[in-house]
């Protein structure tokens, strides 16, 4: 199916007739409809916003290094944490995973030439820069200051300009998400290559399907909430304003109806990425493929009926709290199935400690901690105590950073060679991992205790008894900031001048590795052929693997011979 061990002539293909034609670098700045270009556009754009959100986080932690509000001051602080969260969610994690990895990988993994709606895909991407421009503009004009949750009535009295900029940018981001979801569902259900049934496709595709269903159902409700909030803000209506007969809690219901599924949108693709990386770098089939696939669908369904666990203190009735508690706790079961299956995948393998694997191992460890604090948050009486405290901040960062960001880094290390044709430096990858792991835990582990001992969230000034733990946390944040440097330098340098990767440096079996690095514009030379299951490590003899490689070699030569004579560089 791909280049495999035992066939050295193809393992490191020299530049020559087997490479795709050079495409101009400035295509990344255009309205390209190629899903691979769009995927990279998403990844680079969102990484830029990750750095912006990270700078805001450093500003927040600089303020919190001492108990007094003596760095940003009270007003600017609220803008800082509001923009930090908004940017990280809507301009980094969601678009990087769905728009970046989703777009790049799904057509390749299912043997398609592009997504179902390439132009729609480009439109979805080009909604992202305006989203970012509006939020960056608010940084200079008037930042939104009511938290990324923007609860009324506070959001109606915290500055019209900032709040409306926030609303408009999220509406753009939500539109982009919805367009993408339509594209993914259609592509996955309708464009798999002949012979690839649903149960033959890589688990990343199952994850993208589940995430896209969530996006399609939930995002329009957020749009509704924000449009109504806009009317209250600008036109004097009273949907959520009690002085006019409105109800602030209705906003909370509408907001969380989207924002809870949003967290599953931010983690399901990562679950898919981990399910792809572990088999390759542990040289073992994924354990319990069907259970992992169906658990993604279970999480999708359950994710839609748990939103009010964010509202256990909002005066919601008892029966409602109990219902949402039971539904929320149930999510632990399919999630646990995945974690145990990943452990079983590692068990008995031959584990290569490349950067992608290190970040995957870090992901499992950190996400489990986040999941356990999530179990505490699922219980109504326990949640009521820790709601709106630093315990929640700890939980959300363990699942969003320890989970999603570690997963994104794992995916970047794993697929960078496919996307760019060059290898990242492994030594600096390990340095990056160690710095990230240490800085992350230093920053966020103390927050569990801070919240439990009485520190609320979203405060610029706090009781001096919390000074020591906050100091440690802020030092950790600075370590985290520094940790991005080895990655940035590594990525930029390697993209330009790193060693050539060849088609399949990891000797993996999924279809994206069965073509060149980077793939040609039409993804595959000739029609892709399905020679093996996506996780059949250890199941084929050396003779079979050599036969696969020979098949692909001849297919490619045939396709290149039929193409224009001036294809080679």
């Amino acid at each position: 199916m791909t280049q495999l061990q035992g066939n050295p002539s193809l393992v490191a293909a020299p530049r020559g007739s087997l490479d795709p034609p050079e495409e101009p670098w400035w295509r990344f700045l255009t309205f390209s409809t190629d899903h691979k270009v769009i995927g990279i556009q998403y990844l680079v754009t969102t990484f830029f916003f990750y750095l912006v959100g990270g700078a805001l986080a450093v500003a927040v932690r600089a303020e919190l290094a001492t108990p007094e509000a003596d760095f940003l001051g009270f007003e600017r602080y609220n803008g800082a944490f509001t923009l930090h969260a908004t940017i990280m969610i809507f301009l980094w994690i969601v678009p990087a995973l769905v728009g970046g990895f989703g777009n790049y990988l799904v057509p390749l993994m299912i043997g398609a030439r592009d997504m179902a709606f390439p132009k729609l895909n480009a439109v979805a991407f080009w909604l992202v820069p305006p989203t970012g421009i509006l939020l960056l503009a608010s940084l200079f004009l008037e930042p939104p200051s009511a938290g990324w949750t923007s609860y009324p009535p506070l959001s109606l009295v915290s500055g019209k300009v900032g709040e409306e900029l926030w609303i408009l940018s999220i509406l753009l981001a939500g539109t982009s998400s919805i367009l993408g979801a339509v594209n993914f569902i259609t592509t996955i259900l309708k464009m798999r290559m002949p012979g690839m049934r649903m149960q033959d496709m890589p688990l990343f595709c199952w994850a993208m399907l589940a995430a896209s269903v969530l996006t399609l159902i939930a995002t329009p409700v957020l749009a509704g909430a924000l449009i109504l909030l806009s009317f209250d803000l600008l036109a004097g209506t009273s949907f959520f304003n009690p002085s006019g007969g409105g109800d602030p809690v209705v906003y909370q219901h509408m907001f969380w109806f989207y924002s809870h599924p949003a967290v599953y949108i931010m983690i399901l693709p990562v679950f898919g990425i981990i399910s792809e990386i572990l088999p390759v770098h542990a040289r073992k089939p994924i354990f319990a493929y069907k259970a992992i696939a169906y658990s993604s669908l279970a999480i999708c369904f359950l994710g839609l009926i748990v939103w009010a666990h964010h509202m256990f203190t909002s005066g919601t009735p008892d029966w409602m709290r109990v219902f949402f508690m039971i539904a929320t706790m149930s999510v632990a079961v399919p999630t646990g199935i995945k974690v145990f299956s990943w452990l079983a995948t590692l068990w008995g393998g031959k584990i290569h400690f490349r950067s992608a694997m290190l970040f995957s191992l870090g992901f499992i460890s950190m996400f489990v901690i986040g999941g356990l604090s999530g179990i505490i948050l699922a219980s109504v009486p326990l949640d009521i105590y820790v709601h709106d405290t630093y315990f929640v901040v700890a939980h959300l960062h363990y699942v969003l950073f320890g989970g999603s960001v570690f997963g994104i880094y794992a995916g970047l290390y794993h697929w960078f060679p496919k996307m760019t044709g060059r290898l990242l430096n492994e030594f600096w990858g390990r340095v990056h991992f160690v710095l990230t792991f240490v800085g992350f835990n230093m920053c966020f582990l103390p927050m569990h205790k801070l919240g439990l001992m009485g520190m609320p969230r979203r405060v610029a000034q706090y009781d001096p008894q919390f000074a020591d733990l906050n100091w440690i946390s802020s030092v950790g944040a600075f370590v985290l900031a520094i940790s991005t440097l080895p990655f940035l330098v590594n990525a930029i340098y390697s993209w330009v001048a790193g060693p050539k990767a060849g088609d399949n440096p990891w000797q993996a079996l999924t279809l994206e590795w069965a073509t060149s690095s980077p793939p040609p514009a039409h993804n595959f030379y000739g029609d892709p052929i399905l020679l093996t299951g996506p996780y059949d490590y250890g199941l084929h003899s050396k003779e079979t693997l050599d036969y696969f490689a020979a098949q692909l070699q001849s297919l490619r030569e045939l396709a290149l011979a039929e193409a224009e004579p001036t294809t080679s560089s």
């Binding site: 040289r283 073992k284 493929y289 009521i384 979203r458 490590y537």
Partner: protein, 337 residues
């Protein structure tokens, strides 16, 4: 598997269990317990920590074992053992978490009913509709079917005293049945108190960590808390819902004192209030009883008073006019002036 490895496995299991049980009781993650609700919360929390520690140790232990035992060694090529499923294992690791969360869910329902049962029967829009407050809410509400007795003779829904609480940017007003309005909450020891709460401007939340209680204050509706303070002392009341730039300094104090001291304090305050309209402000800086912290300590002057006096220029006259405004616009309370 050999007998030796079975013994080792059981031994590891025992160690993990003991470690988890120990940490569940010795985590030092919570402040002191000062109300009837706290021990209920703490026992559930400790059990949950025990289970979470156990799960974490198992997952991390297996991961580290794999990383060591199944690492690719130098010179090794080829793939791992191609196993990809085991039905029994999958059933076990589906059923065990399901049982754990079943237990946690039931235990949580128990604790929730004991602490909050019947206080949250739906955020009726009393304020906006101008209805009377808690009395009408009680009659015929389904929530009051759950009345676990926490202290003898003291049942949910039958408070010894009722205090109206209003939250606003950036402090609280507490109105007692006697008509006294203060910015600090004094309560008598071992008496059941009910708080009827609302907000005057944006969302706030009333949080006392030592009582393990929290409830949002939402403009346009009334929310409630009921509890019995069981320990003398001064505890912080912290706002726990973002309410503006000064959310971080919106805090006041809850002072639990002996019932006779509480009565004496109330009488003193009422006399002072009758004599001088600026006594409303002085209620925040009332003379320390023997349960107040020393007058010159940072904890004595409530952050609320500090912020108002220093940053926002709110004078006692402003507070008086706010009280009058409140009476004319908002819901009427039983027994207040």
């Amino acid at each position: 598997m050999s007998a030796l490895s079975n013994i080792i496995l059981v031994g590891i299991g025992v160690l993990l269990t003991l470690a988890s049980l120990w940490y569940g009781q010795n985590h030092h993650l919570l402040p002191e317990a000062a109300a009837n609700s706290a021990p209920l919360f703490d026992s559930l929390f400790n059990s949950t920590i025990t289970i979470a520690t156990g799960i974490f140790l198992v997952v991390e232990g297996v991961l580290l074992y794999c990383v060591i035992r199944y690492r690719k060694r130098r010179g090794e090529h080829g793939d791992g053992d191609p196993s990809h499923g085991n039905v029994l294992l999958e059933i076990v690791w589906t059923a065990v978490p399901a049982l754990i969360i079943l237990w946690l869910g039931l235990a949580s329902i128990d604790v929730y009913q004991a602490i909050y049962g019947g206080t949250n029967v739906g955020g009726h829009m009393h304020a906006a509709m101008g209805m009377g407050s808690s009395e009408e809410a009680k009659a015929g509400e389904p929530g009051y079917a759950y009345t676990p007795v926490v202290l003898p003779g003291k049942e949910m829904g039958q408070p010894d005293l009722v205090v109206q609480v209003q939250g606003m940017q950036y402090g609280w007003l507490f109105t007692y049945e006697s008509g006294l309005v203060t910015s600090e909450l004094h309560l008598p020891l071992n008496r059941r108190v009910r708080l009827n709460m609302t907000a005057l401007d944006v969302n706030h939340a009333f949080w006392v960590p030592q009582f393990r209680l929290k409830q949002d204050l939402i403009p346009g509706r009334e929310t409630h808390l009921e509890f019995v303070p069981t320990q003398l002392g001064t505890y912080p009341i912290i706002c726990a819902e973002l309410c503006g730039p000064y959310h971080g300094v919106m805090a006041t104090q809850l002072i639990v004192e002996r019932p006779e001291d509480f009565e004496r304090w109330q009488q003193e305050q009422l006399l002072a209030a009758r004599g001088d309209s600026s006594a409303l402000a002085l209620a925040a800086d009332s003379p320390p009883t023997h349960h107040h912290p020393p007058a010159d300590s940072p904890a004595a002057a409530s952050a609320f008073a500090q912020v108002h006096h220093q940053r926002l220029g709110v004078s006692p006259a402003d507070l008086t006019s706010l009280k009058l405004h409140k009476d004319s616009v908002l819901l009427t309370r039983t027994g207040t002036g």
